[in-house]
Symmetry: C2
Subunit: 429 residues, 2 copies
């Protein structure tokens, strides 16, 4: 019997009410604000606990304050199916980034309860703490803490800008146990998780542009980030210095960025996933003038791919290119150090399952990479077979104009419910 | 008898003393400072008047404070030969920018006096006021005022940054007559000037790089200046937005500047004089971040050529290019308005004379464009046959490290003296 996905109207209506509740209770000046380990996030956790009580789910809070709401399976010794997402938001953000994934999970469990059925194995919705970087500048705090992977230093060095207090202080004040997190004590075991599915609004424009409500994620892009690329040439007289003797930092940086774009296009043509962004690019605002050959330029570089090998190879090419351009132009192009966030590999079998189910259920869906990071990447890198479902969303995320239609959410939910039914119904693997 | 140039040692020694006097009496924290209509400039004028008295030269001050020191000719009705330059400096500048041209003129007149000879026609050294833009932001104040061309508005709108007082106030305080300048009353008549020669230190590095003490100027470059080029794209998520749908302002501006450089090289290959500088180039420092596709860029553009037709044609090409790149990339590239300073055409016959004399006198010289503007450009654009002699100078100008060897100055002086003797000795034309 795999038919829970056929009738989800009551649960979609419930989801609508839950979204309304979340919005009403975290409304701020322009949008919604749910600070990590703050009031808004706690309000959302409280709502999920009330729903869980109504559904008679098992509840567990871990040392970092992550909440696990479980529909017990018939054989509780089996690895569980997990889904979920985070319940914090950026300041003045939208209502759906994160929350949609938790609400979808709860709606799914409500459907199981309404059917009066128990799954073969536990199905758990995880309400992840502190995913947004705006509050504490460390990635994936809740999910990494759950796997015992949060570096101890982050607990004491990350301070919330609005309170000035550290992550450890906030955790403790909220009743959790930062010392157990500092000790690296795992709150979750990857071996005990059959799979992790995260439903999330798309943060880019692709589904809107393609007119499709649902996306099936092919991979969560990792990144290389160069925060301090620096070109050092020589200032000179704009009129009196001939082209051949100039050491023009802007022309050198321009050639570098233009060739980076050409490399990017070549990668695309070869079918390799890659996006590149030079978000900051500036001459020295203290000394640059219209009539001086520019002697220095700084820029940033953010390159992302589903495939870390593509990133590392690109780094080698970029450094060769910087060396070559620098030599030709008599300037120094120093890309500086990078940080490397690993891609989150999507489990091929689960992705195939989602694509097949979308086709057979008549859910209009396309496959696309996730350009932003997600808690799912942490699960994937811990070895949990992981997949993600995107729901169409207008105006991007992290802003008050974020807009997801409930009808689109319903399509994503249907796919999630169908996939979990399918996995749970199969012979134990 | 054209032999004054053969023996200039005493005058070169005098010139050395005059340079020392100028430096000692205008020394400031790092270099020398001779403000337009300020103490340092007046000190230099006072020195030249004392020298003129010693040489029994005719002296005239015009309504703008320009000083004309004249060795009377045998026929004073003939148009005079003029030389000279300015006596102000930038704040914390060097000792030679401007002053070298006046000192050379005075050394030349000293040589005529030592020989006990009178020229056929008047030879006048002009001490020009207020050439440097640092003090009052209007170009060529003294020389344009001399020709009745200084716009009245500049007198009241330009204020010296250190005093806050207007150009008109400073002129009046120094004893001059801004109202006559405001009325456009000419202080000089182009028809009464046979030719104008300006000796000046080179402000670029060409003579140093080529190892040559003297340059003969082929033209004074005019410019087009675009102060507010603006690219408007759309901010977006650095990871989640595919390349095809991005409206990346940096990539568009980068393509524009890269293609500008290619155009520049094509012009050079075709033998057209051109230099191009993008001195400022920056994303929005308030909102740009590493992880946002940049939505806006501003840059400046300074293009210079001896040939104004080259500049105006380039403007048309650049606007076509901006339109094309903008359309392809879905961004707006607005170059905004430009200002156009006309090139100062160098008289071909005088330039030929200088080149021929350098060869016959064994003065090592090359021909090159002047990238910076000079008072000579005002004379040239008023129809006075004009030429310029550059003297090698290390470390560029407008800075305390400016360095001209007296031996190099002596070579430039020799060429000036020989040219003026030659012109004066010829049949009246």
């Amino acid at each position: 019997m795999s038919d829970l996905h056929l009738d989800l109207q009551p649960e979609v209506a419930l989801a609508g009410q839950w979204f309304d509740h979340l919005r009403q209770h975290s409304r701020s000046r322009l949008g919604v604000t749910r600070a990590s380990y703050g009031e808004g996030e706690q309000m959302a956790h409280d709502l999920m606990r009330r729903i869980a009580s109504d559904l008679a789910l098992a509840q567990r809070l871990d040392a970092a304050g992550n909440l696990y709401l479980t529909l017990p399976g018939r054989d509780r010794s089996l690895p569980s199916i997990m889904t979920g997402s985070h319940l914090d938001s950026v300041p003045e953000g939208g209502n759906y980034d994160g929350a949609a994934g938790v609400v979808a999970g709860m709606a799914m469990l409500a459907r199981w309860r309404r059917a009066g059925r128990a799954p073969q194995r536990d199905i758990t919705v995880m309400c992840v703490r502190a995913e947004e970087l705006s509050w504490f500048p460390a990635p994936y705090i809740g999910s990494r803490a759950a796997f015992g992977q949060l570096e101890a230093e982050a607990l004491d060095s990350c301070r919330r800008p609005d309170t000035g207090r550290t992550l450890a202080q906030h955790m403790a004040e909220a009743g959790f146990a930062p010392d157990r997190i500092r000790a690296g004590e795992p709150q979750l075991s990857a071996e005990r998780i059959r799979c992790f599915f995260e439903l999330h609004i798309e943060q880019g424009p692709v589904l809107v542009q393609k007119g499709v409500p649902v996306g099936i994620v092919t991979g969560i892009r990792g990144n290389l980030r160069y925060r301090h690329c620096h070109v050092r040439g020589r200032y000179g007289h704009a009129g009196a210095e001939p082209r051949e003797s100039r050491q023009d930092a802007v022309l050198a940086a321009v050639e570098f960025v233009h060739r980076l774009e050409a490399l990017w296009i070549a990668h695309e043509t070869a079918g390799k996933d890659l996006v590149c962004t030079v978000g900051r690019f500036h001459t020295d605002t203290d000394v640059h003038t219209m009539t001086k050959i520019p002697g220095e330029v700084w820029f940033t570089l953010d390159v992302r791919s589903e495939d870390n090998a593509v990133l590392l190879e690109l780094d080698r090419e970029l450094r060769r290119m910087a060396e070559e351009i620098g030599t030709q132009r008599g300037v120094g192009i120093d890309l500086g150090p990078y940080t490397n966030a690993l891609p989150g590999p999507i489990d091929r079998a689960h992705r195939n399952r989602l694509e097949a189910l979308a086709r057979s259920l008549g859910i209009s869906a396309i496959s696309l990479a996730s350009g932003a990071g997600h808690d799912a990447a942490v699960f994937a890198n811990c070895g949990v077979p992981t997949a993600m479902i995107f729901v169409r969303n207008e105006h991007g995320s992290h802003n008050p104009d974020e807009a997801m239609a409930l009808a689109d959410f319903a399509q994503g939910l249907r796919l999630l419910v169908a996939a979990v039914e399918d996995i749970d119904g199969r012979a134990l693997g």
